[in-house]
């Protein structure tokens, strides 16, 4: 009996040992052993122009990427070492589009895709939003909490470009879209909510502007172009909302004498009341504190 319990204990420890020493993260599929060279951080190649390009592929990233069970050669097809592959944003999107055809077509119709077709390298394409590092090797699924496309993170992902005043100035986007969104009820509700998907049923950038087919607000087919379109977009959540409801939106801008002046004057009025009354109260309190302190000190 004693011996039996000893076996049990040993077996238990052995099992724990296996769990501790032989667990490993899931490994990405690498049938051609590409990572034995490309997993090396120092691996570079010199282009014809004389520039150095890193050929490093982070094994850590690939192991957690959503495509980890798709072999390297699925995308880097045929003879990867012999094929001259043009490496630009458009070719990257095309590659994603060989499988994700629907999303690719929507993307090409979007303001980002249209610019991409015209050779503008500034715009976002697939990997810019779907990977934290903007790398096709670390694309993760939309519903993972740390995905840049997870609902709670979307505004921050758009902000990577759209909160860059210098970059946006080139496109005539002068509104501080990220800041004003975060100040809005939608932004506050997303920010103050947790990561649970049940708490994320609030509008973020993509709910109004679209995502794969995101349109410029100057494009008449944009869901936010004009009050009629905007009202229809509001209605998706605010049942029965009309044009009048939509007209209350300040349009990512501060209220001013030019932009919804009534709100601007309301703000001015309440700010003056607030400052006057509090200054008056503070004066009395400070005077009282001084007097009571002197009284105490003299006593």
């Amino acid at each position: 009996m004693k011996r039996l319990s000893l076996y049990f204990v040993l077996g238990f420890l052995f099992a724990i040992g296996i769990l501790i020493f032989f667990t490993d993260d899931a490994k990405a599929l690498d049938e051609k052993n590409c990572l034995s060279c490309h997993g090396n951080e120092g691996l570079t190649k010199t282009t014809e122009a004389g520039g150095k390009i890193s050929l490093f592929v982070s094994e850590k990233d690939v192991n957690t990427a959503s495509h980890r069970y798709i072999d390297c050669t699925t995308c880097h097809s045929e003879e990867p070492h012999d094929t001259a592959s043009p490496l630009n944003k458009l070719s990257l999107a095309e590659k994603c589009g060989t499988c994700h055809q629907y999303e690719y077509r929507l993307h090409l119709s979007s303001v980002h895709g249209q610019q991409l077709l015209q050779g503008n390298p500034d715009v976002a394409t697939c990997v810019d939003c779907h990977s934290q590092e903007g790398s096709p090797h670390s694309v993760i699924r939309v519903l993972e909490y740390n995905a840049p496309t997870y609902k709670k993170n979307i505004a921050g992902t758009c902000a990577r470009c759209h909160d860059d005043a210098e970059l946006m100035a080139d496109y005539g986007i002068v509104e501080k879209v990220y800041e004003s969104y975060m100040r809005s009820f939608h932004g506050k509700a997303i920010q103050l909510g947790t990561y649970e998907i049940t708490q994320l049923d609030k509008a973020t950038c993509t709910n109004c502007h679209g995502f794969h087919d995101v349109k410029s607000v100057r494009d008449p087919v944009s869901p936010v172009a004009g009050l009629d379109n905007l009202a229809k977009t509001c209605e998706q959540c605010h049942a029965g909302a009309g044009v009048e409801f939509a007209s209350g939106f300040l349009g990512h801008k501060e209220a001013s004498t030019d932009n919804v002046p009534a709100v601007h004057y309301t703000e001015l009025f309440f700010t003056i009341v607030l400052i006057t009354v509090i200054a008056f109260g503070a004066l009395v309190v400070v005077a009282a504190i001084v007097r009571f302190t002197i009284n105490k000190w003299r006593a």
Binding site: K188, H238, V263, G281, R291, F292
Partner: protein, 259 residues
């Protein structure tokens, strides 16, 4: 100290209490206080949404849906308390035929009282002003609610039912309501913390808690100091010294340093 004032002071031993508030007023204040605190605790994280503590605090409540529900529930309680007060007022005047509470209505005496109080704090006067049933600060607190409550209720209602409201009102009302709600709330909170709590609880003689609004009773001696004019009327014992040459009239005959 005059003989008369001494007698009055002797009469007002520590045990004796004067009834200042009735049970309805105690309930109304308690209801207002509890709902106000809940509203502040569930509303502030929205105002300071980018502070890390706000996100933690909303998490403590169990998410933004919970704070929103609590905020709305507390708002309805506050509205109920205000309606209770209005009906209580009408009932006491119209049914019980009690005189209209004129003492809460602001008048020129409040400006005099304010001026005298500031003069005392700044060292231009030896004594604090004589106060009737309500001090100017109490009147300010009371009437501020008559301004603040409608602002908060209307703006809050607009934000609760924006789609419904914009069927009748222009769309900018919703954006304006947010501004009004947010600023008026800050005004109320800062005033309550800075002025109301300071003068009612943190001043010498009251620290740490002035219980009069919770028990309805005030110590006779304290009453004589704080509401001298009403005390005189109630007891017939004058607190004010007869005018003496060289001493300006209207000074309270209290030991120095007391209030």
């Amino acid at each position: 100290m005059s003989a008369m004032a001494q007698a009055a002071s002797l009469a007002g031993s520590n045990e004796e209490k004067i009834s200042r508030f009735d049970v309805h007023q105690i309930i109304q204040h308690a209801g207002l206080m509890v709902s106000f605190v809940i509203l502040v605790f569930t509303g502030l994280p929205l105002k300071f949404h980018d502070w890390a503590i706000s996100q933690w605090w909303v998490g403590v409540w169990g998410g933004i849906e919970v704070t929103r529900t609590a905020h709305i529930a507390a708002a309805w309680i506050m509205l109920a308390v205000c309606l209770y007060h209005v009906f209580y007022l009408l009932y006491t005047i119209l049914v019980k035929k009690k005189p209209f509470p004129v003492k809460i209505i602001p008048g020129p005496s409040d400006f005099r009282e304010y001026y005298q109080e500031m003069a005392y704090y700044l060292g231009f006067r030896k004594t604090r002003p004589l106060v009737d049933r309500f001090s100017w600060k109490e009147k300010f607190d009371y009437w501020a609610i008559f301004w603040g409550m409608p602002v908060m209720f209307i703006s809050g209602f607009i934000m609760m039912y924006p789609v419904f409201v914009t069927k009748f009102l222009p769309g900018w009302f919703v954006s304006a309501a947010l501004v009004a709600h947010s600023d008026e709330a800050m005004l109320a909170l800062v005033w309550i913390v800075l002025v109301h709590i300071f003068f009612n609880h943190f001043t010498p003689g009251h620290l740490p808690l002035n219980t009069s609004i919770f028990t309805g009773k005030v110590n006779v001696k304290k009453y004589r100091e704080e509401h001298a004019l009403e005390y005189e009327r109630m007891t017939g014992k004058p607190v004010v010294e007869k005018p003496v040459e060289g001493v300006p009239p209207g000074q309270v005959n209290l030991p120095d340093g007391k209030m």
